[in-house]
């Protein structure tokens, strides 16, 4: 009598998908969302055949809890249930956060879930399976009960208007808070390490006198239009471009080195825009098959797509420099 469902992360969500099957013992959906049973918890209960329980009124033994539905902005609750080993669904868009972050894993936790993100089993990726809104139970439910339900719901609405406003404000704040958390994470995890590595490199180059060598050899090439077209052409050669591409590390290091030359006045500033395109003709050439498979392309498309992109870059790389040069007129 129990059914298996799949819950995936909603828009801006994290973690999952979770596959939930109730058993004779483990068959309660615990709603810990500021009192009352959240519609999402009710939906999950209806679909699986489990029972929805208000976590603010009832206390359950952990082994009876199939899944906990929480609305946590990333402080405590979102980690409490994963720590206990209980599947957790957060209706707020919160990832691995809070003091218990280490217990939050995609195997046990999913966030930003709405009623649309719950599917009957047989989940196969994007949006296969019927959305929850089309379950048989709902369609066949007698009209009268529906009316009664609606009446009940509207009554609750009147009572909880302050709670509702509070939740809306909380949701808004959570979005900003999560945005801040995501930003700091990428600054610490990616931007700062890259700065550290390039700054060290740049320091060695400038203090050791190597910088003067670069200034004398590369700068003259970069301060003429034909020189830059040649650089773009070289970067776009199909054998070289996939090697130069990964992580844009080479383009970034060269960009920083050129920046230093611009600062010293070795290259005139009006060459900044064409330079940006000259050093970047190979962008993404290392990533074509991966990028295409992310776009759900057929193997045959990938087979012809890779050479199509690589060859086209030989033409558009230098062309981009020329367009950029034309657009630099009047700047600086």
């Amino acid at each position: 009598m129990y059914k298996t469902i799949t819950v995936k992360a909603g828009s801006n969500g994290w973690g999952g998908p979770l596959i939930l099957t109730p058993t004779e013992i483990c068959n309660k959906v615990l709603s810990v969302t500021g009192g009352g049973i959240h519609p999402l918890a009710q939906k999950i209960a209806d679909m699986t055949g489990a029972e929805a329980v208000d976590g603010f009124k009832t206390n359950l033994p952990d082994e009876e809890v199939l899944v906990a539905v929480v609305d946590c902005g990333g402080t405590a609750r979102c980690g409490v249930y994963p720590k206990k080993g209980i599947y957790t669904i957060n209706i707020e868009p919160v990832g691995k956060a809070g003091p218990l972050a280490k217990y939050i894993t995609p195997e046990i936790y999913v966030s930003a879930v709405t009623e649309k993100d719950v599917y009957e089993s047989d989940y196969t990726g994007a949006a296969a399976g019927e959305p929850a809104s089309k379950t048989e139970a709902e369609i066949s439910r007698p009209k009268q009960t529906l009316k009664e339900n609606t009446a009940k719901v509207s009554e609750e609405k009147k009572e909880n208007i302050i709670t509702k406003i509070g939740k809306a404000v909380g949701h808004f704040v959570n979005i900003f808070f999560q945005a801040g958390r995501d930003t700091i994470e990428i600054v610490l995890g990616t931007i700062l390490p890259f700065m550290a590595f390039t700054a060290t490199l740049l320091g060695i180059i400038s203090a050791s006198g190597l910088g003067n060598v670069i200034a004398k050899t590369i700068s003259p090439i970069c301060s003429t239009l034909p020189g830059m077209v040649v650089i773009a052409f070289i970067c776009g050669i199909p054998i070289l471009s996939p090697v130069l591409g990964p992580g844009a590390v080479i383009a970034q290091v060269v960009g920083t080195l050129l920046g230093a030359e611009f600062a010293l006045g070795h290259i005139p500033p009006q060459y900044a825009l064409p330079a940006l395109f000259a050093i970047d003709a190979q962008v993404g050439c290392d990533f074509v098959p991966v990028g295409l498979s992310l776009g759900e392309a057929d193997p045959e498309t990938i087979e012809y797509g890779v050479p199509a992109v690589l060859f086209e870059r030989m033409i558009t790389g230098p062309l981009a420099v020329l367009i950029a040069f034309a657009f630099s007129i009047g700047m600086y």
Binding site: N12, I204, G255, T256, G305
Partner: protein, 169 residues
Amino acid sequence: MEMISKVANGFIGLFQAGGETFMGWVTGIIPMVICLMVFVNSIIGIIGTERVERFCQKITKYTILRYTLLPVLADIFLTNPARYTFGRFVKEEHKAAFYDASVSFCHPITGLFPHANAGELFVYTGIATGIQKLGLSVGGLAVRYFIVGVIVILIRGILCEKIFAALSK
């Protein structure tokens, strides 16, 4: 002894220069980037990627929009590397061209929207910092980088589509 201390000084000097550069970046670039990224990430959170997806599905049939607006929106809202998943909205024969347009915009976008590809900021920031040191404003550079980027990805998309069609015949 004097020799040793000279070598030591020279050695430390290499990293003092690096440290100064690092400090300049941390105080000069990071605070603005953080605030801008928080703001844009919040806006994306409020709008929701689902709405953008629905809109993007509608515009794929127009060649010009497919290689301009579609990759720009994908880059802004899904960021690197999730943006390539918008490839599923376009026809099989346009996928390579869409990928090329999308990936070619991942650096021109960073001048105005650093959040879209925060891991690869220095293609633009590296050069822009140099320009800034000359006492020039980089606002115009960022805007022009964006505009030229859009033109270039349109050309790349159309050309790639043609080459793909010729190859797969």
